[in-house]
């Protein structure tokens, strides 16, 4: 598999954007219809970070649709990385850290899939991931950095970065190639029918992801009126014209968290770790069957997580606003 996607020529970047309908129009679709907009072989950037605002429902729908040969990129992946490997929808994940979470130790799925060569974990430093998306968002072919030099993390990526001497100061710098995903998938607390997204709490890299990507697919906890958005325009996270489609999916980040609404479903995360601990291949197959393929809807999926876990996560999520 080739290293990270090559830098897009500016003419291509401009043509792709110019070719899209960027007007204020209704973009509401179902979850399945949203997943159908993502095609085999595309590079999909995942919004949020680790166990936060993961577009879990959309990934769930992509797994069920048996999408193939996708490349995912994300600042940090948690169990979402395991899922896209184990389900076979991804050949590659570009990220800075890949594990369900420090308390659960090293990911068994990531180890099994990468060490056997079935899939690739392409590693960049966390800031480099951010700067690559930022370059893409700014319409630039690269971003300079003072990080990732001297290390083997940098050495492994040397084929796609450029060593550079600053013409102003004579200092050594590293030029990071812009990352312009085919599609960014982002989960938000609320959004209107036109794709004006509003995010509470941690913004992560989502503004840059949305601007870097060719197009954006949103899932949202709820769809609100355009009037409501326009009363707080300083809370809008990125421009609506980056957005292609919006699906309303309550608890769309479960079993991860959505700031202010629910924390991670910790008992379910324990269960996932446990099921993949002994026999990882069998364990993850059972897990996918039980939680990804057997439920007939996202509500049935949530039902399998269990109402008690949902209430515990919700109680904890809301508590961030308590003194």
């Amino acid at each position: 598999m080739p290293q990270t996607p090559p830098v897009k020529p500016y003419a291509q970047l401009r043509a792709e954007t110019a070719g899209r309908d960027r007007s204020l129009h209704d973009k509401v679709v179902t979850l399945d219809a949203a997943a159908a907009l993502i095609r085999d072989g595309e590079h999909v950037a995942i919004g949020g970070c680790m166990m936060s605002r993961t577009p879990s429902a959309l990934i769930w729908a992509l797994v069920r649709a048996r999408r193939r040969n996708l490349t995912f990129s994300r600042s940090i992946v948690s169990s979402d990385g395991d899922i896209v490997f184990a389900s076979g929808i991804a050949k590659k994940v570009i990220t800075s850290w890949f594990s369900q979470g420090i308390v659960w130790g090293i990911s068994r799925v990531m180890r099994a899939w990468t060490e056997s060569g079935r899939a690739e974990f392409e590693e960049w430093s966390h800031m480099s991931m951010g700067l690559r998306y930022r370059a893409g968002a700014m319409g630039l072919p690269f971003m300079p950095t003072r990080s990732m030099m001297g290390s083997d993390v940098g050495r492994l990526r040397a084929g796609t970065t450029k060593d550079f001497v600053c013409p102003f100061t004579g200092e050594k710098l590293l030029l990071l190639p812009a990352l312009n995903p085919d599609v960014a998938i982002i989960h938000v607390q609320r959004c209107d029918q036109f794709g004006n997204p509003q995010i509470d709490g941690l913004p992560f890299m989502d503004h840059d992801l949305a601007l870097a990507a060719k197009r954006v697919i949103l899932t949202t906890e709820r769809i609100v009126s355009n009037d409501q958005i326009r009363r707080q325009p300083d809370q809008t996270a990125f421009p609506f014209f980056t957005v292609e489609a919006v699906a309303e999916v309550p608890y769309g980040s479960a079993p991860h968290e959505c700031y202010g609404l629910y924390e991670p479903f910790f008992k379910h995360m324990d269960l996932f770790a446990e099921m993949t601990r002994a026999d990882v291949e069998k364990g993850v197959e059972d897990y996918l069957k039980r939680f990804y393929f057997e439920p007939k809807s996202w509500t049935e999926y949530l039902d399998r997580l269990g109402l008690n876990d949902l209430l515990v996560a919700t109680r904890a999520g809301r508590s961030i606003y308590d003194d």
Binding site: M50, E115, H126, S128, L131, S151, D152, M205
Partner: protein, 258 residues
């Protein structure tokens, strides 16, 4: 000499307490979850109330609630009573801009020049174990002064790490600066046996203090390369009752200090 059997704290608790003492009041500290966060929070509640914590997830100056430790530095628990929330890239850029005094890391392997590996055990092309990777570690180690807390074991303190995830002083001398990293570098390594620092000229790790009840040979036996002792090497003070008390309030379930 205190016998290890007699001590009233775990190795992880010792690590957290000793690490907390490396921090000074008023510093800006970039910390990961686990021992780093516990140590920084402990320092904040005891000798260094004016420490400003930074989390990779995009948080500036939070106060962690005892018993509600965040599962990573990217969830809402990290934002509790923060002064500011900002995008990940912008919080990491504070390192590059020079606003961070200390970066606080863990690690799977470390070598004599303070290089850290959290990516691969074995040959990176065909690894024995694929580890979770750098996260912000490479950026933090490239751009700030580093404190590391880790268990002192021979398989962790190796002659040469299998992979440099987070750069220390690379191959020693001025090799770090020549590689394009003129600032930062390894500052202290806190283990359950000793405090290590860096020889100013050679940039090799050296022992600066032993913990109470630890013999020099014990450190040598648990280090995978020959290690020097600083001329003025000392012995650290035992964890105080107060330090252990506050630490146990922070992590009552012993998620990180068992």
């Amino acid at each position: 000499m205190t016998s290890l059997l007699q001590r009233n704290y775990t190795s992880s608790e010792l690590l957290a307490v000793m690490a907390s003492r490396t921090l000074a009041d008023g510093q800006t500290v970039f910390a990961g979850v686990g021992i780093p966060l516990l140590a920084a929070t402990l320092a904040q509640r005891l000798h260094a109330p004016g420490i400003t914590l930074l989390f990779e997830g995009g948080v500036l100056g939070p106060f962690i609630v005892p018993g509600e430790l965040p599962p990573s530095t990217n969830e809402q628990r990290c934002t509790r009573r923060a002064n500011m929330i900002l995008p990940i890239t912008d919080v990491l850029l504070l390192l590059q801009r020079g606003y961070v005094d200390i970066g606080f890391l863990g690690g799977a392997q470390i070598d004599r020049y303070g290089n850290i590996n959290t990516s691969f055990i074995g040959d990176p092309a065909k690894p024995k174990t694929r580890l979770p990777g750098t996260g912000g570690g490479n950026d933090i180690a490239s751009l700030a002064k580093i404190v590391v807390a880790m268990k002192h074991e021979k398989r962790r303190f190796v002659e040469k790490v299998d992979f440099i995830t987070s750069p220390g002083f690379l191959s020693g001398g001025d090799s770090r600066a020549r590689a394009g990293l003129p600032t930062g570098g390894m500052h202290k390594i806190v283990t359950d046996l000793a405090i290590l620092g860096v020889d100013p000229a050679s940039k090799k790790l050296r022992v600066e203090a032993l913990h109470p009840g630890v013999a020099a040979d014990q450190v040598r036996a648990n280090t995978g390369f020959s290690i020097d002792f600083a001329p003025n090497a000392t012995v650290t003070d035992l964890p105080t009752g107060r330090e252990l008390e506050v630490l146990r309030q922070l992590d009552p379930a012993q998620l990180y200090t068992a």
